[in-house]
Symmetry: C2
Subunit: 662 residues, 2 copies
Amino acid sequence: SSLLPQPSVRPDKASELKTLWKKFYKVASPYWFSEDKDQARLRLAAVFALTLATTGISVGFNFLGRDFYNSLANKDQEQFTKQLFYYLCAFAGGIPFFVLRDYTKETLSLRWRSWMTKYYLQRYLKDQTFYKIQSQSIIDNPDQRLVDDLSSFTGTALSFSLTLVNATIDLISFSNILFTIYPPLFLVLLLYSFGGTAISVFLGKGLVNLNFLQEKKEADFRYSLVRVRENAESIAFYGGEQNEMQLLLQRFRSAFDNLTELLIASRNLEFFTDGYRYLIQILPVAVVAPMYFSGKIEFGVINQSVSAFNHILGDFSLVVYQFQAISSFSAVIDRLGEFDDLLDNNIFRDPSDTVDEIELTYQSEMNSSLLDTNGSIKSQPNQKRLEIEELTLQTPTNGTTLVHNLSADVYDKDHLLIMGPSGSGKTSLLRAMAGLWRSGKGKITFYLDPEVDFTQEKSDTQENSGKRGDVLFLPQRPYMVLGSLRQQLLYPTWSATVEETTPGGSNIDGSPPLLIREDGNEKPTTDDLMRTLEKVCLGHIADRFGGLDSIHEWSSVLSLGEQQRLAFARLLLSQPKLALLDESTSALDEANEAFLYQQIQSAGITYISIGHRRTLTKFHNKILQISTADPKSNERNWRIEDVDAQDSLYGRLNQKEVPSES
Amino acid sequence: SSLLPQPSVRPDKASELKTLWKKFYKVASPYWFSEDKDQARLRLAAVFALTLATTGISVGFNFLGRDFYNSLANKDQEQFTKQLFYYLCAFAGGIPFFVLRDYTKETLSLRWRSWMTKYYLQRYLKDQTFYKIQSQSIIDNPDQRLVDDLSSFTGTALSFSLTLVNATIDLISFSNILFTIYPPLFLVLLLYSFGGTAISVFLGKGLVNLNFLQEKKEADFRYSLVRVRENAESIAFYGGEQNEMQLLLQRFRSAFDNLTELLIASRNLEFFTDGYRYLIQILPVAVVAPMYFSGKIEFGVINQSVSAFNHILGDFSLVVYQFQAISSFSAVIDRLGEFDDLLDNNIFRDPSDTVDEIELTYQSEMNSSLLDTNGSIKSQPNQKRLEIEELTLQTPTNGTTLVHNLSADVYDKDHLLIMGPSGSGKTSLLRAMAGLWRSGKGKITFYLDPEVDFTQEKSDTQENSGKRGDVLFLPQRPYMVLGSLRQQLLYPTWSATVEETTPGGSNIDGSPPLLIREDGNEKPTTDDLMRTLEKVCLGHIADRFGGLDSIHEWSSVLSLGEQQRLAFARLLLSQPKLALLDESTSALDEANEAFLYQQIQSAGITYISIGHRRTLTKFHNKILQISTADPKSNERNWRIEDVDAQDSLYGRLNQKEVPSES
C-alpha cells in the first residue's frame, strides 16, 4: 500500500506540468508568509535588485566592448586607451554587484532551508507522524527528504527563479539591440530556440524518471549501511557479515544499474545539446554577414549582434542547457510534495477508513465518584487514574483483532500486571493507551493532574508531550539519546538546556530562533541525578564514564540491563501519576527487579506493567490475563484477577529480598 | 580518543600538500592494479585519447575562427561562405568526440566507484572492524564515507586529472601560437596567473577546513534523523518528541553556523576570482594593441591572440577557478584516507597497547582425552567443545577487569547457564568468546567439526563467517535483516540467492561480478522453513504477512517475543555444534521458554545461555555464577556449580509443561 507515485508512463505533458507547478507552489509558498516573511521578502527584493543591476552592467560591458573593438578596427590609438580606461573603471565598479548577488542569494537560500527544516521537523514529530511513517512504511527515506531534498530544493528554486528573471530582463534589453540591427535575426533566434527545446524535451523525457529512482536507490543503499552501524554488535555476534555484504551489494547494484541507464540517456541528450551550443557561435554571423558585405553595417556591429544573439539565445535555451538540472529538480519536487501532503495528515484520515476509532481522552482529576456513569455513587475513597470501556483493538495494517471489548479501571496506587503469551498483543494494548494505535473501537480515559489543562488547543510539540506529562511509558527496547549521561536522565521530561543562542543576543544572520521554551516543573540538580543513579545501583557508571556530561555511544557501552535501570531512574526523576512499564526488567536479575519495583512502590507511583515472570506478581495487586485472540469467535480473550494479598506481599519465590549489591 | 585530525592551524603548506598527495595516492591506486585493471587502464587510455582529440579539435576551431573573421574583415564574401562550410563540417565531425569523452569518463568513474565500494565494504565487514568502529566510536559517519565520499572521490579525481592533462596539452599547443605572435604576452600571462593563484590560496585557506567540518556536521544531522526513524516506537512511547526536536535543531544549527562561515569565506574569495576572470577579457588586447596600431599584425591576429591567451590562462588559473572544488575534494581525501588507514587495521594494533591479548583459537574435534594438558588420560567419553583457561577479561575502552582468571570446560551435550547481577560482564564474556573483545589475558579454544579446516589462510568474508560456521551466537537484541521472512530464517548461515547477474551472462558494462559463492551445506527448502516456524509456534506469521517472500519492516511489525522465537528458528535450522544464547528468552513467557529449550535439547545442540530467571536452571546441568568484580582485589569472582539432577529435570517451578498454544 505504498503511496509512491508509480513511475509509469506519464499521462500527458501539459497536465503533468500543471501538477508539478502546483506541488512546487505548495512546498515553496509557506516560508514567504511565515513569521520570517519580512526578512525573507526584503532579501528576495535585494537579490532581484542586484540581478537587475548585474544585467545592466553586462549590457554596459557589451557597449564598452563594441566601442573598444571599433576603436581598434579604426586604428584610433588615442580612443583605444580611453576605452581601455573606461573598461577598467566599469570592472572595478561592476564586479562587487556580481559577488554580492551570489552571496545574498546563498544566504537567503540557507535561511529558507533553516526555516523549512524546522517547519518540516515539527510536523514530522507531531501526532507521532514519524512513528506512523516508520511502522506502516508509507514513504521511503524521510531522512533524505529532510536533509538532501530540502537543501537542494531551496538552493535550486532560488537559482532557477533568478535565472528566469535574469533571462527575461536580458531578453528585453538585448532584443531591441538585435531589432535595431537586423529583425530577421530575431526570427531565426525564436525558431532555433523553440525547435531546440522541443527536441531536447523529447530526447530527455526518460531522465526525470531515472533521476527520481536514482535518488531513492542511493538513499536505500545509505540506509542499509546505517542499519549495519546501528546493529553492529548483533551482526558481529551472528557473524552475519556475508549476508550483510550480499544485501549491501544488491542495493548498490540496483543503484549502479540505474545510474548506468541514466548516463546513457544523458549521453544521447548531450549529442544534441552540444551541437546546439556550438552552432550558435556561427549562426548569427552567417545571418548578419550579407548586410556587412553589402556595406549596410560596420564590422563592430557584427561583434555586437553576435554577443546580443548569444545573450538572448542563452535565455531562450534554458531548458536545453539545464535539462539535467530541471529533471533532477522535478524529482526533488515530487519527493517533497509527497512528504508535504503526508505531513498535512490528510493521508492518514483515508475517508474509506472504518469510521470508528479508539477514543483517547485525558481528563483532569475531578472526584471520580461523581463521574460514575451507571448512576450509583461509588464510595471509592481514592482517585481513578485510567478507565478502559469496551475496547476492541485491531492491528492498523491488516485489522486482525487482538483484544475483544476489554473493560478495566485502574485506581490511584493500583499496580496492574498484564500477562499473556508472547504475540498476544500486550504491547499493542500499550500502543492504544499511548495513542499510537487508533484502529478498533472503544474508549480510553486518563484522569490526571488537575492543574495541567488539556483542553486548550495544542499548538506545537511542547503542548503535545506536555499533555502526557503525567503518564510515562517505558518501552520494551530501552532508548538511549545521543548525548551526555545528564541528557539520558532528563529525557523526556526536561530538555537539557541548549547553550544559549550564539553569544551577543540575536544570531548574526537573524536565522529563526531555535531555542525551545523550558518546561513547567523545575529541573533536577546534579545531586538529584546522582542520588537517583545510586537508587538504581548505577552510581558507579558516572565516574566510570567521566561524569554526567561526558558523551558516549550509550547504546553500545552500557549493557541492556544497565540501560533498563537507567530507564527506571528516569521514572523516579519525573514522578509521573501513572507509569506503564513494557517488560522493562526483562534483562535484570530477580534481585535487581525486586529492588527497583520497591523503589517505585515507595515513590507512590501507580503503575501498569507487562511481563512474563511469576516473580512480578508480588509487586502487583491485579493481573490482566490476555490469551491469543481467536480470529473467528469474538468472545472475551481476557480476564482480571486480584492477586491475593498473601501472594503479593511475601510471594512464594521470595528468596533474596535485597541484592548483595556493591 | 577520537583520531579525527584536529582541524587546528595547518603546519606548513609544502608538507601539508605532500601528505595530501600521499593520502590521495594511497586511496586512488589500488583499483588500477586490481583484477579489473585491464578494463580500467583501457578505458582510461580511451578517455585520454578522446581528451587529446577534443583539444586538437578546439585548436582547429580556433584557426577556423581566425580565417572566418579574416574573410569577414577583408570583405571577401566568396571566401566567407567557404569558411562557413568548413566550420559546419568541423562541428559535425568534432562534437561526438566531446560527448564520448564525457560519457567514457562518467562510466569509468562509476566502474571505479563500484569496485571501491566492494573493496571498502569487504574490509569494513572483515574482522569485525565495523563493530570496533561503532563500539569505540573511532571515526564519525562511516556510512557517509562509503557512499557520498567514495562517489565524489572517484568522480572528482577523474575530472581533475583530465582537466590537468587537458590544461598541459592546451598549454603546449597554444603557447607556440602566442610565442609566434608576441613573446612578452607569455610573460604577462605567467605573472598574472601565478600572482592570482598565490592570492587566492592565501584568501581561501580557511575554506578547506570549513568544508571538512561542513561534511561532518551534515552527516551528523542526517545520522540523528535516521536514529529517530530506527527508534520511532520507543520515542513515541516516551513522548520524547520535544527532546528529539531540540537535539535535531541543535545539530542543524551547528551545520547552519558552519555553512554561514563558509559562505562568507567563499564570498571574500569570489571578489578576487571574479575580478581576475573579467580582467582577462581585456588584458591580452591591451598588450597586443600597440603592435596592431604600429601595423605589425593584422586585426584577425588580435582575436587569435585573445583566444590563445584565454586558453592558456584558463589552464594556469585552475587553482583560482576551482578553489572551492579543490578544497572540498581535499576534505574528501582526508576523510577517505583516514578511513582507509583504519580499515588496514594498523589503527587497532596500537604498539603501546598491553602485549597480552586473549588468545582465541578454533581446533578440529580430535579426541580430547589425548589433548589433556596435565598429562593424565581423562576417561572423558564425549567430546570437549569449549575450553577456557585462566581468562581475565577487561573492557577495551578503560580496562576495568570484569572477570578474574576464569577456567571452565564445556563438553558435547553440556548445557551451561551463566548467571550474575546485571552489569557484571556476562555479555562481555560472550564478546570475548566471539572474538569481539580481546582486551585481557588467557586462552579460549573451541573444538569443532573436523571437516571444516580452520588453519588455511582466511581470504575474504566467506571464510571468516565460515570459521564460526559451527558456533552460533544469539545476541541479546534480536536482529531483523532488511528483506523477506525467508531471508530472516536463512540468516546468517545461508545467503538467500541474489537473483542472478543481469540476464544474458556478463553485465553490460562488465562491472565486477557481485554474486557471493554459496555455502557448503545445502539450503533448507520452503517446507523445512515452514516446519521450523511451526516448531517455534510462529506458523501463523507466514500467512499473516503474505508468505515467506513478502518484505516488511520486520523490526517494527513483529513483537520482541516473536523476534526472539524467530532467532530460535534460525538456531534450529543451522544446527550448530555449539550455541551461545544471550538472554534470548527475556521477552518470552515461561511456557514458550520451556518449549523452545526443549526443542534445542531434543535437537542435541550443546548450548551456553546467559539468563536471570530461576526457571532457566532446569534446562541446564551446570551454572557459572559471576559476581560484580571488585576492582581492588583480584581474587576469583566466579564459581561453577552442578545443577543437581533432580532440580534440572523436574524443577521446583514446573507448572505448565507445554504452552496452550494455538
